[in-house]
């Protein structure tokens, strides 16, 4: 069983929901990420989404765009992200890591080369924003052969046909984008999310995590109750952006927010 499947199974058994932070690797500096990952695990997160910085993050709002720019200014890359993940794995064999990014860095490495490198780094899942199942079957198959899950996004306007397609090609979990918009936007509607999750759940048994627009412990609690996990990204990265002169302060604010979310979700 994959680390992701095992994690969700374990959570389901204990009636808990997954807390999934997204951070951009190498933001604000390359050495910030690895210690933060370990701290986040201590704060109770279940899965870590590592953002691979890309020069043209078309689906991201300004907060994650700027995080990418900061990381790229330090020459962060897909290869270096994999190296950080591999380093993390040396001391943490439990926490699943999902790479989240755009296709072109993977294209540059070549699908097979990337799949091999991801396996060597012991990556658990790959979510590629601009690789829908229509175009992604080859890459997904290569990853599957190596025991790596391919995670797809679902959106408020995804049809039943598309949900079925994601469920067929994807594995690990589905990531439901809770609103029409870019990351960090602010008009998440819990009732809409609830309705859509019912539709998705009627089609697939795969766990569904919900993200985009989760800003605080209260939203995290509301959203977690509706699905199997909650993803928080821009709210964490804002802490980095607000404390560029003090990375330690950024880290403690991130951990404080995640701890609060953990508590709220588990209540």
């Amino acid at each position: 069983m994959s680390r992701l499947a095992a994690t969700f199974e374990q959570l389901a058994k204990s009636g808990r929901k997954a807390l999934i932070p997204f951070i951009t690797t190498g933001d604000p500096t390359p050495d910030f990420t690895l210690p933060l990952m370990h701290e986040m695990v201590k704060a109770g997160v279940d899965i870590i989404e590592l953002g691979v910085p890309f020069s043209d993050p078309m689906a991201d709002g300004p907060v994650i765009q700027r995080a990418s720019e900061r990381a790229l200014a330090h020459k962060m890359s897909l290869r270096k992200t994999l190296a950080i993940a591999a380093e993390f794995r040396k001391t943490d064999q439990q926490t699943p890591i999902v790479l989240m990014g755009y296709l072109n860095p993977i294209e540059a490495m070549g699908y097979e080369g990337f799949a091999n490198a991801a396996q060597r780094a012991d990556i658990d899942g790959v979510l590629t924003v601009d690789l829908p199942p229509e175009e992604g079957e080859q890459c997904a198959a290569l990853l599957k052969e190596r025991g790596i899950d391919t995670i797809f996004l679902l959106a408020p306007n995804s049809t039943n046909d598309r949900i079925k397609k994601m469920a067929a090609v994807g594995s690990g979990y589905l990531y439901y984008v809770s609103l029409k918009g870019v990351t960090g936007a602010g008009h998440l509607d819990a009732a809409d999310v609830e309705n859509k999750l019912k539709q998705i759940k009627a089609i697939t048994k795969m766990p569904v995590s919900v993200g985009f627009g989760v800003k605080d412990a209260e939203t995290a609690k509301t959203i977690a109750a509706l699905g199997d996990g909650v993803v928080v990204g821009s709210a964490l990265i804002s802490k980095i952006e607000n404390n560029l002169d003090s990375p330690e302060q950024a880290k403690s604010e991130i951990i404080a927010l995640l701890s609060a979310m953990r508590q709220a979700i588990d209540k």
Partner: protein
């Protein structure tokens, strides 16, 4: 090539290129657009309305002009100019925006967005939006807003909101990113009019089909004026819409050389250029697989060109396919060479070309003397140079 050319396939692929590489939120609207496009493409009423608009509003057909003096001066092939600069709004861009706006109207969309580099597509979009009474937002890189201020003013006059994009390299690619973000957010009421043969399927095929009027007219006009097919077609390539519009109806005519001219900026060897077909590598950006300017990590490299309209790190996927199959040739012209082309056409024929089109002029100055006098070159004069007066005056140290 003995079989008839039928690209792209149903999934929007030109061989390994093209496709639909977009975030999930955009898949349903792209599929909706594709369905509408496939339907109206064959709808006689739609086609009649489009033809009428192209004739009465755009001013088509555009002339094919024999550049007799310039041909004599260069001493080789006879040169003809396809006068897209004479279209309403001053470039070929309007052919496509008229078509997509009619689609938007049929699909019940009330809001139009667009990206623009030189501003020609932005102006052409603002123009059709004004005519149809639709809200219009144009995204333009902050660098381009500064170097094409005349077009920014035109768009505003036409009632469009121009958003200066401050992210990334602040040029055309960043404008496209921002337009895609807008579309993801306002997907229900918004129609995204992409200005070039890039983006996810069906855009590359759809924009090509709207621009193919250029090549169809050219073919007929060559028949009327010289009684045969031309020997070579030359067009500048940024995203590649004016080039594909000219080339497409000639793809099965194997005797006709198709030559796309990319922007070499300071020279391909300098690394400061916008020539992905000549010096890039395949990758995925803005919804399709094509040749890109990217580094070993797959990050997109900043491009450079004197012409804002060619300053783009990708190129339409059909050009990538035509390059790989060898059906079309792709060459490049530096900023300085383009300026020579600009002055040559201005002084020899009394026609001031856009800096984009000047790249095609400059390559023709190299090509024509190598050809026989009984051979013919058609250049796509894709736009007029009015928008570049400030850039040119500044280069010459003149304050306007």
């Amino acid at each position: 090539m003995t079989e008839k050319y039928t690209m792209p396939d149903v999934k929007g692929h030109f061989g390994p290129y093209g496709g639909m590489f977009v975030a999930e939120t955009l898949m349903p609207p792209i599929q909706e657009l594709n369905a509408a496009y496939q339907r109206y493409l064959k709808d006689p009423e739609f086609i009649a309305e489009l033809d009428a608009d192209l004739q009465h509003y755009v001013g088509r057909p555009s002339p094919l002009y024999y550049a007799e003096r310039w041909s004599r001066e260069l001493g080789g092939a006879q040169i003809y100019l396809k006068r897209e600069d004479l279209n309403h709004t001053g470039s070929h861009k309007i052919n496509n925006t008229v078509g997509q706006a009619l689609l938007a109207k049929r699909m019940g969309k009330t809001r139009i967005i667009a990206e623009t580099g030189a501003g020609q597509h932005g102006v052409a979009t603002a123009t059709v939006a004004a005519r149809l009474g639709l809200e219009c937002v144009v995204y333009m890189g902050a660098v381009d807003v500064a170097r094409q201020s005349l077009n920014v003013y035109r768009m505003k006059l036409l009632g469009a909101t121009v958003v200066a994009v401050e992210s990334g390299s602040k040029t055309l690619k960043d404008a496209l990113n921002e337009a895609l973000r807008d579309w993801v957010t306002n997907v229900d009421n918004t129609f995204y009019i992409i200005g070039t043969v890039a983006g996810p399927h069906p855009y590359p095929a759809m924009v090509r089909d709207f621009q193919a009027i250029i090549g169809r007219e050219t073919k007929q006009q060559c028949q009327d004026m010289i009684g045969k097919l031309p020997d070579a077609l030359v067009a500048c390539v940024g995203g590649g819409s004016n080039a594909i519009g000219l080339f497409y109806p000639f793809i099965d005519d194997e005797s006709v050389r198709l030559i796309g001219v990319e922007a070499a900026g300071d020279g391909v060897a300098s690394g400061r250029h916008s020539a992905p077909l000549c010096a890039g590598r395949p990758g995925v950006l803005h919804g399709n697989r094509t040749y890109l300017m990217a580094d070993d990590d797959g990050e997109i490299i900043e491009t450079h060109s004197i012409s804002a309209g060619l300053d783009y790190p990708g190129v339409g996927p059909e050009h990538a396919w035509l390059k790989d199959t060898g059906r079309a040739e792709y060459v490049n012209i530096t900023d300085n060479e383009a300026l020579e082309g600009f002055y040559a056409l201005t002084r020899m024929e009394g026609i001031i070309p856009a800096l984009e089109s000047a790249h095609a002029m400059a390559y023709t100055m190299k090509l024509a003397p190598t050809m026989r006098k009984d051979e013919t070159i058609v250049i796509n004069l894709s736009g007029r140079g009015d928008k570049d007066m400030q850039t040119m005056a500044k280069r010459e140290g003149i304050e306007l």
